[in-house]
């Protein structure tokens, strides 16, 4: 049996600053503590989610987060076996401050250091929360990401496809903005959609008729804009019912695209003949009940187990980084103090991304 480890995780690659402690083995790990300092609440009052850009602000909060994470776990650095830190992809200032913090702790304590891909953290979370067996199929769908991955091992990810432009979370935010709904847009569009008719307006389903798992959501946003302008012109303004119908129609278009592409992804995944076929959805957009419900139905229809990590572990957090670090340490991997921040770091570097639009070289 493999030895259990205690790993401190640090995450600051996007808007939030986080630290966490995870204990165990890759097959059975538990979260001892997880601290996330979010800017969202603070800025919601001002009508928008403003990113935490300042490397300095991240750095200041990191020390505090690490301290709280250790305290909540009832540990000191002397009890920790390794330090895991998000070293990309993400906002360079944020990633750098996390990496600097981790290097400092590593240099001061002599503890091993490991740089973790932020997306690998998300991708491995279903192992931590639901003990999924490799290989499993993952849909990562959030504000900044949307991709289907077959997770074959802690270091082997195959990307089946993803958005070629906006991520769905971004589309929700921008639609909310276009329709005068509060930010963050996901919950407010979902709430409006509950009182609307999803067949109210005909909106496009980009790339729905194409093979493969690539998706596009940018044109959908533009279609909502056109529809809004037509309604404003016809009715002299946007009625609440029209707005609700538009939200419901938009949400259904996103649902349809995700459901259709999930079916295609499941077929590709089943080609690997997994012993226990499993699908997991992660990312903030997984909080949308309509999307979640539909994905669950698609899985049931295709005879594959559905799971979704709890929301706190779907959105950015450091427990996933600590866990991913733990699995990498277990494989004998570690980084040295030359670890650098990587703003761009695709999980599947073996595979050329598939472009669905086919518009490149239109002149030819």
């Amino acid at each position: 049996m493999r030895a259990s480890m205690t790993v401190l995780g640090i995450e600051s690659s996007c808007d939030d600053t986080a630290a966490a402690v995870v204990f165990g083995t890759p097959d059975q790990a538990t979260i001892q503590s997880s601290i996330v300092e979010s800017q969202t609440d603070l800025h919601a009052a001002f009508g928008g989610v403003v990113p935490e850009l300042a490397a300095r602000a991240h750095a200041e909060k990191l020390d505090h987060c690490v301290e709280l994470a250790l305290r909540d776990a009832g540990l000191t650095l002397a009890d920790v076996d390794g330090i895991a830190v998000t070293s990309g992809p993400g906002l360079i200032g944020g990633v750098l401050s996390g990496v600097m913090c981790a290097k400092g702790l590593s240099a001061a304590t002599g503890l091993p250091l490991i740089g973790v891909n932020h997306l690998a953290g998300h991708a491995l979370t279903p192992r931590l929360t639901d003990a999924l067996h490799f290989p499993y199929l993952l849909l990562l769908v959030s504000g900044g990401h949307c991709q289907f991955l077959i997770v074959k091992s802690a270091t082997d990810f195959r990307r089946l496809g993803g958005t070629i432009d906006d991520a769905p979370g971004e589309a929700f935010d921008k639609v909310a903005k276009l329709l005068g709904l509060p930010q963050p847009g996901g919950p407010s569009v979902e709430a409006a959609a509950r009182n609307g008719n999803p067949k109210g307006f005909a909106l496009p389903r980009p790339l729905l008729d194409r093979d493969g798992c690539d998706m596009s959501f940018s044109g959908l946003k533009t279609a909502v804009l056109r529809m809004r302008d037509q309604l404003v012109e016809a009715d002299g303004g946007l009625t609440e019912q029209s707005r609700n119908d538009l939200c419901a129609s938009f949400q259904e278009a996103v649902c349809d695209v995700l459901a259709a592409k999930t079916s295609i992804a499941i077929k590709a995944y089943k080609g690997l003949s997994p012993a226990t076929p499993s699908f997991a959805v992660a990312g903030g957009v997984a909080a949308n009940q309509a999307i979640r419900g539909l994905l669950e139905t698609v899985c049931t229809e295709n005879g594959i187990a559905f799971s979704a990590p709890p929301l706190a572990l779907c959105t950015d957090n450091a427990a996933m980084i600590a866990y991913a670090g733990l699995t990498l340490f277990d494989l004998g991997r570690s980084s040295d103090l030359s670890l650098s921040a990587r703003p761009r770091w695709p999980l599947d570097q073996s595979q050329a991304p598939m472009l669905g639009s086919g518009k490149k070289g239109a002149k030819a």
Binding site: G144, D165, E170, S218
Partner: protein
């Protein structure tokens, strides 16, 4: 608009892509192209095709709205694709390192109004406005005389 030097009527998303390829062909280190226009005008679409043309390969160019900056390394030029939509003021742009980096790469910047005083004097602005038809866009280039402007004029006005 002051210092306007080229306009084009784009009839389709493909037209926008072709314009992007033409602009991309003259980009060099230090060039700053500011992409202005409302949500849905095609700013990201333009940037995506400009970057892909220069990369010469089919690489995903996702929207940088959430990440704020995506850096692409082409064979002879680094291109920074920035989206300042989520920034509230120029302090954010300073924190992103835009100020120092303006001389080391070419820049395609969406929502540049957040740059404030950081807007380089020799930057070129491409305004994309909604046209009459659904996919129609009016493209307007403006900027003070500069090497970048001269290179753009050579490909836009032939």
């Amino acid at each position: 608009m002051t210092n306007r030097f080229a306009t084009q009527s784009l009839k389709s998303a493909d037209d926008t892509a072709q314009l992007a390829q033409a602009v991309s062909s003259v980009l060099t280190t230090g060039d700053v192209l500011l992409l202005e226009g409302p949500l849905g005008a095609g700013k990201s679409h333009f940037a995506r095709h400009a970057i892909q043309a220069r990369l010469g390969r089919a690489e995903d160019v996702p929207s940088p709205t959430f990440t704020l900056v995506q850096v692409y390394e082409t064979p002879d030029l680094d291109i920074w694709h920035c989206d300042l939509y989520r920034l509230s003021d120029p302090d954010g742009a300073i924190e992103l390192g835009l100020e120092e980096a303006f001389e080391t790469a070419a820049y395609l910047i969406e929502w540049p109004s957040r740059l404030g005083d950081l807007r380089p004097a020799d930057a070129v602005t491409l305004q994309l406005a909604m046209g009459a038809g659904e996919d129609h866009r009016e493209a307007t280039f403006s900027g003070q005389p500069s090497g970048f402007r001269t290179r753009l004029e050579s490909v836009l006005n032939d």
